[in-house]
């Protein structure tokens, strides 16, 4: 929040952008090295800058514990989509500027020695949008977590479904939710971390479905873009609409946790959120008569890998 400006100092305009970053919240000029050291949180006002995927993994997981999987998956232009630019050009540009092949990275790793499966999104790659590759990685992370019976942690940062892949992007909502449904039925816990921004089809699928949902302070989290909402309805939007604290207040986020405490918070949760034994869990699953059927138990005990 910009409060007031001191009448002296800070007048200089010659901050080299490769060395300094201006805080969009309080206007403070932050020295980049210092900002990185502070996990890209403004030292003055606590504004959380977006984290690139490598920084996020370094922050959450033990050093050198992460083993990225499927790094070679690449999006293809299934629709021949052209807006102001052809989709393949947008992909190429995003690969060149970000150094990653798509907007999500997944793999196993450890947090203070506890084995987990992590999937981290990167907003820098086409707004973190979910096309087939992102959906595939989230799904594979979920399937791997079920197979290995390891807790799943997904860090979302995305504007939503990738328009350039049309309804095939939309279908990724179903694909990821299906994998998470199986994960839950298998008694394997899922922690969803919602960071700035988590909106549209990503929030309306896997990101909303954590057994525990954690958000970073003031992260934009919502279904419809605030401008869409404001445009569709002639209503004044409430203060703090679609911010992490708004979701916390309305019961859709369990915890709003500053970045500096995120790792220890997850670690604390993991002590309670351990994958259950198969049979015990299946016995508890009484929501449907078939939940207790011998076939269902068999399927669980045999640990059939999900379809690939």
């Amino acid at each position: 929040m910009p409060s007031f400006k001191l009448p002296f100092g800070r007048a200089r305009q010659d901050y080299p952008p490769n060395l300094w970053t201006k805080c969009p919240d309080c206007g403070e000029m932050l020295y980049n090295k210092q900002l990185d050291k502070n996990q890209r949180v403004c030292a003055r006002c606590g504004h959380h800058f977006r984290l690139r995927v490598d920084a996020r993994i370094a922050q959450l997981l033990d050093r050198d514990s992460f083993r990225e999987q499927d790094a070679n998956l690449e999006s293809v232009d299934m629709l021949g989509f052209v807006d102001q630019k052809p989709y393949p050009e947008r992909l190429e540009a995003a690969r060149a500027t970000t150094g990653i092949r798509d907007a999500a990275v997944w793999g196993p790793g450890t947090i203070a020695g506890t084995r987990v499966v992590a999937c981290v999104m990167d907003f820098a790659f086409m707004g973190g949008s979910m096309g087939t590759v992102v959906g595939e990685k989230v799904t594979r992370a979920g399937e791997h977590a079920l197979e290995e019976r390891l807790p799943l942690i997904v860090v979302a940062s995305s504007g939503g479904a990738r328009m350039q892949e049309g309804t095939l992007s939309l279908m990724q909502l179903a694909k990821t939710c299906a994998a998470l449904g199986r994960l839950g039925e298998g008694g394997v816990p899922f922690i969803s971390v919602l960071t700035d921004p988590t909106t549209g089809g990503v929030f309306a699928s896997f990101a909303a479905l954590g057994d525990v949902n954690i958000a970073e302070p003031k992260a934009l989290i919502g279904f419809a873009g605030a401008r869409v909402a404001a445009g569709t309805i002639a209503e004044e939007l409430p203060e703090g609409f679609q911010r992490a604290e708004f979701l916390y207040e309305h019961g859709f986020v369990d915890l709003v946790v500053p970045r500096a405490r995120l790792r220890e918070t997850i670690l604390g949760l993991l002590r309670y959120m351990r994958p259950s034994a198969h049979v015990e869990r299946a016995g508890l699953n009484g929501s449907s008569p078939l939940g207790r059927s011998p076939q269902f138990l068999d399927a669980l005990i045999r640990r059939e890998p999900a379809h690939g």
């Binding site: 299906a178 199986r182 869409v228």
Partner: protein, 340 residues
């Protein structure tokens, strides 16, 4: 191959870009036509008996989503669908078919009920999208949609989905995770409205028609993409010209699908449903050199060819070929030129 965007010589394209935009936009307008029969009208005409049920047991009854019991040629089922209004007053009451979270929670309740009673589910899709206002966000519309999708993916009873009008994004998908997805000929299905896509990607709503073409949102194209399984032809001039005939055609196809799903073992049913959505979309595997190599060569080209055949069909007013309900991508790959 991926870069190629000119039409290949084997496909039949009969439209200039302008004609194509006009033809696609006409479908969009047909799909949105207020005179088009909506869910309750269709269910009443399709079924011999309809008992509507109300409320999500948590907050209120959302008039933008309807559901209940129905009997289709003797087959008992639970139906759920988006509901638009035909008149202005009703449309306001129905919120133009844009559900709030409680609508999706009512749907979840009815899905669970169907599962418990061992009744199949038939869903009807016709919404511009979930309501995007503060009331909707406050009550967790994203969570409600995500939950509905997840419940459908694991529901232990058959689900037949029919896209009857507008299949608008996540708000549509939340009721559309069927074992089989049918679509009326003039229906559309898209990840975002053409207006929304235009304002984001072209930075102007004036490009809505361009966006509509680019997203390949017509039923014929969605069939080619494998997102839907079968297109049900509409009567001459569109569904609103003869709602009874539209309902008759839907009844035949829904009944056939219900019968073919009814005998399935539950585990096989769930595995097939999981696989249906698991296999949506294509990706490539990059080689070490960083140059993209298609993982399964020919698939993208195959989709293109099918899409281009869809284009021709679209302009000619002919709907796409019905897809085998059990057909999957691997199956189709074995006969790449069929239907082209």
């Amino acid at each position: 191959m991926v870069e190629q965007r000119t039409v290949d010589a084997t496909s039949v394209v009969v439209a200039s870009p302008e004609e194509l935009r006009a033809a696609v936009w006409q479908r969009v307008q047909q799909a949105r036509n207020v005179k088009r029969p909506h869910t309750l009208e269709l269910v009443t005409a399709i079924a011999t008996e309809v008992i509507e049920l109300h409320g999500d047991r948590l907050y209120r009854d959302d008039p933008a989503i309807v559901g209940g019991f129905c009997r289709i040629d003797g087959r008992r089922a639970v139906f759920v669908g988006h509901q638009k209004g035909a008149e202005t007053d009703e449309n306001i009451r129905r919120n133009f078919g844009m559900p709030h979270p409680e609508g999706y929670r009512k749907a979840i309740r009815l899905f669970r009920l169907a599962e418990r009673l061992n009744l199949p589910v038939v869903t009807f899709i016709d919404t511009p999208g979930a309501f995007p206002g503060p009331a909707s966000e406050e009550r967790g519309v994203a969570e409600a949609i995500a939950r509905a999708i997840m419940v459908m993916t694991g529901l232990r009873t058959p689900i037949v989905t029919v896209i009857t009008g507008e299949g608008g994004s996540g708000g549509a998908l939340a009721l559309a995770v069927g074992d089989v997805v049918l679509a009326l000929e003039n229906s559309i299905y898209s990840v975002i409205s053409p207006e929304g896509a235009a304002s984001i990607l072209w930075r102007s709503a004036e490009y809505s028609q361009h966006a509509a073409v680019a997203m390949r949102l017509t039923a014929a194209e969605q069939l080619a993409l494998g997102v839907i399984d079968e297109v049900v032809p509409e009567p001459e001039g569109g569904a609103h010209r003869d709602p009874d005939e539209t309902a008759r055609r839907l009844r035949t196809r829904i009944a056939a699908q219900l019968d073919s799903l009814a005998g399935r073992d539950r585990k096989a049913l769930l595995d097939a449903r999981y696989a249906r959505y698991r296999n949506m979309g294509e990706f490539a595997l990059a080689a070490e050199t960083g140059v993209a190599q298609p993982e399964r060569p020919g698939i993208v080209e195959r989709i293109r060819r099918l899409l281009d055949s869809g284009r021709a069909a679209l302009v000619g007013g002919e709907s796409g070929l019905p897809r085998d309900a059990d057909g999957d991508a691997a199956d189709d790959a074995a006969r790449p030129s069929e239907g082209a």
